[in-house]
Each structure stands twice: as C-alpha cells, then as structure tokens.
Amino acid sequence: MNTPVIDMHSHAGRWGTLGVDDDAAKFVQVMDAAGVDRACINCIFYGDPRRGNDAVAGFVARYPDRFIGVGFVTPHYPEEVIRELERAFDTLGMKFLKLYPNYYGRPIDDAGYLPIFEWADDRGIVIMSHSSYVDDSNTLTAPWRFIGLAQRFTRVRWLLAHAGNARPGQEQAVEAARACPNIYLETCTSHGEHGTIEFLVEGAGADRVLFGSDMPLMDARYQLGRIVTADITQDAKRKVLGLNAIRLLELAD
C-alpha cells in the first residue's frame, strides 16, 4: 500500500553555525532517501520575516511539487504583521504559519501575537509553533499555554511543533490535545525517549499526531524512522506520516 508522507516541519536558511548548507537540491536528496513526498518549509530565523518568507518562496519555486511554503512573522514589529501575512499567504502562497517564540523571546500567549492570531482566526488557518517544556526555567512555549489560545481562537488549528519536546512537555501536550479539539501534535525532537510516538498516539489519538523532521537540523530519515518503527498500528502510521497532513492542509490526495 502506498503511504503518502508529508513532512510538516522543515527549514530553509543557511545554518552556518552548524555547517548546514541552504541547498534545495541536497534537501530533496534527503527527502528522496527518507521517503518524504513533500516537505512544508519555513524560515523563522530572520528578524525581518520578509527575507525568510522570500527564501521559502525560492525553495517552492524551484521544487513546486516537493515543497509547501509556510509563512513566518515576528511579534516585535506588530505594525508590519498584517501586511506581511497578506503578502506571505496571498502573494507567495504560504499554506500555514510557523512561529518560534523561544528564538524571539516572547511567550506564545504574549499580547504581541494577538494581531497575528486574530488574523489567522479570521482565515481559519493552521499555526504551527515551537512547543517545549523541560522544566520551569523556560515556559515560553510550554504546551499548557496553548490551551487558552486554542479555546479563544477556535478556528485556528494549533500544531504544537515537537509536541512539547521532553517528556514533561509531551505529557502537557497530550493534556492540551485532550482539552482542545483544535490542538494537534508534531513529532520531531532530539529528546524523544523510547515510546514517545506510542505515547503521543495513544494520548492524543492517531488523528491528531503529524510527522515532522526539523530538516536540516535533524535528518528526515531518522525522524521518519521514529514513526515507521514505532509500536503502533499500520493505520496509525499512515495517518501520522501523511494522511493527517493531507486532511489538515486540505491537500488533494
């Protein structure tokens, strides 16, 4: 049986501090080797989001059948947010939005994000945000923070990247998904201990867990292998690997 694979979490941008190239062709080679059909790609690293969104658009333009564009905006320039959101989605064709509060130093429920959330709620789009909780030293994207947002902005589908990351965060993420039907969990992490995928699927349900790689920070082959080799049903694997993404992003299958 053919298994569509959609990677919900990958990045454009030259990660020079880790010796990672910003090379779309190399990116596609890894996708091919891993078995990834399409990668949702964002660029969240520039203080000026226009630069990052243009980089994403470049990837999509070069491989339109392999990449799905994901927009980004920063909470530090609220006066620019709506204009850039409209450019990213209406002109560049972004499919959903990625936020990275940890890198930008504001918690996900900071007031600076409200214009973004209101705009996204009007359109009913997917927002994927970094989510991580290890201990109380950093709660900027602790999964519990998303519960109030999901209950307030009910048309947004909230996708928690890394599903809370470490085990305490994963437990919070499952609780958040159980509390809010519009919260979904994305799988990539370098913290994931044995049994993590099984825990997420059992806790949140196979319909609410989506595969992501964090390419090129983490190799799609490893992250995809976490799903393929998990002790879950074949049906659940197919949902996590791609069927849920197709449904959530309303892709044609």
């Binding site: 569509p4 501090t17 983490m218 490893y222 995809l224």
Partner: protein
C-alpha cells in the same frame, strides 16, 4: 492538484538487513525518573522489535552514584544473558585501579565508561594517566559521553595516549562544531551516533573519518532503538560500510569478532 505518494512505498515493517550490535544502552532503574524500560525483559523485547542482536549495556547507577556497586548490580541484572554485553563504569579519581582491574578481568569486561563531569574530576593526565596506561595494556576501549568531558582536555589526553581507543558517545548536532575537527585530529577516537541526527550527518562523518570509526548506538531507553538504523539503511551506504557501522566496528573494538 497536489501529487502525493510518489516517493512513498515505505516499508512500515522495517527491519535491519545486517546484524546489529548496539553500542550504547542503559540498563536498570534510574534515581531521577522512571524510564519506560528498565528491565532485561523489556530491553530484550525492544531489541527483538528493532532487529538488534546484541547490546553493550551499562548501569545508570554506576554513573550516578557508585561505579563498583552499579557494575555489580549490572552483572546481577544481566545474569549471563549472552546478548547483553556488560560495560563497566569507573571513577579514576576515587576507584582503586588494581581492584577494579581485577574485577574487569574476572568478568571478562572489554570496555570502560568514564564520566568526569558527574564524578567531579578533570580529564587530565595527572588524574587518569595510570588508568589509560592500563586500558592500553589490556586493549580495553574507553567510552566517553560527549557532555561529560571538556573538549580540550579530551583532545590533549587522547593525543597523548594514541594507543588507547576512545569512543565519543551521544554526539549531538550542537557538538558538530568541535567533534568533527577532533575526529580529524585524533585517529584513536571513534564516534557513537545515537544522537547524531543532523541532516546528512552520517555522510558527513563517513566523509570526514571513514565508516570504520563510526559505531551504531541507540541510547536506549532515552531514545528508541530503531530510528537510527532506519537512517543508516537509507543513507546509501555500501553493504560493507553498513555492516561495519551496525556491528563489525564494535565487535572488533571489543575483540568479539
């Protein structure tokens, strides 16, 4: 219209195509949290699911609290299970080398793990030299967790003891800035790749140091056993390189080929 499934054709029942010897498994209860698998039975079950035939195991208690006691607990836990190969933990700053060496020889242990940071000593010759000379004399291999040692100290000691084989374990993408230059510089250092999951990481390592200095490890139960095997099997390796990384290199290091 979006086309999906063109690359697909995944084997959702993936198993490794070569024998696998896991170079990094913790076995037993931890003091700081409950891990999902802490028994021989659970470890063997996970190995069976992942297609792993043997695993090099150490006791978390030996790292966290007391090496001698933890090593003994490990042996009692394993009870001679042939697929679980014991690795001892030592603290050169406090352990008696002669009695430790006697236990190692008595139980046929072939590798040692040091944890300088958690055990509170600098990895310097004026602490570890007699231990490294003993390792060299007995052809035992030293495992060093990447976050347990200062890179400069590791470099200097490994350089000054080229006859000692050292395995740098749990290298993460955040260590890539110094680990690859260190591996370039020191042919007696090998790398265990349980946490090295940066995109194209395996290829980068092979290009830098060759397949013969790379060891598959899982870091179980803090990581699942099988994903890195899936990565290795999809990395375009020759059958010989794949077999070497998955088991041959470790067998050779431990004298078990």
């Amino acid at each position: 219209m979006v086309t999906v499934g063109s690359v697909g054709q995944l084997d959702l029942n993936f198993k490794p195509s070569v024998p696998v010897f896991d170079a990094n498994v913790a076995l037993g209860r931890r003091h700081d949290r409950r891990v999902r698998v802490d028994t021989v039975e659970g470890t063997l079950e996970a190995m069976g699911r992942a297609g792993i035939g043997r695993a090099l195991v150490y006791a978390p208690h030996a790292v966290a609290f007391d090496g001698r006691e933890g090593n003994q607990v490990l042996l009692e836990t394993i009870q001679g299970e042939p697929s679980l190969v014991p690795q001892y933990v030592c603290s050169p700053a406090t352990d008696d080398l002669d009695s430790f060496a006697a236990l190692v020889m008595e139980h046929g242990v072939r590798s040692i793990r040091m944890a300088p940071n958690v055990h509170g000593y600098p990895f310097r010759d004026w602490v570890v030299k007699p231990w490294l000379e003993w390792l060299a004399a007995e052809n035992l291999t030293l495992w060093m967790l990447v976050d347990q040692v200062d890179p400069a100290e590791l470099h200097d000691v490994a350089r000054d003891h080229p006859e000692v084989n050292i395995v740098l374990s749990e290298v993460h993408y955040s260590h890539v800035t110094w680990v690859i230059p260190l591996l370039h510089s020191l042919p007696n250092v090998r790398v265990e790749i349980s946490r090295f999951v940066i995109a194209g990481g395996v290829s980068r390592l092979i290009e830098a140091i060759g397949a013969e200095r790379i060891l598959f490890g899982s870091r179980f139960p803090d990581s699942p056993m099988a994903p890195q095997l899936y990565n290795l099997h999809r990395s375009g390796l020759s059958e010989a390189s794949l077999a070497a990384i998955c088991s041959g290199n470790l067998e050779r290091l431990l004298g078990m080929e």
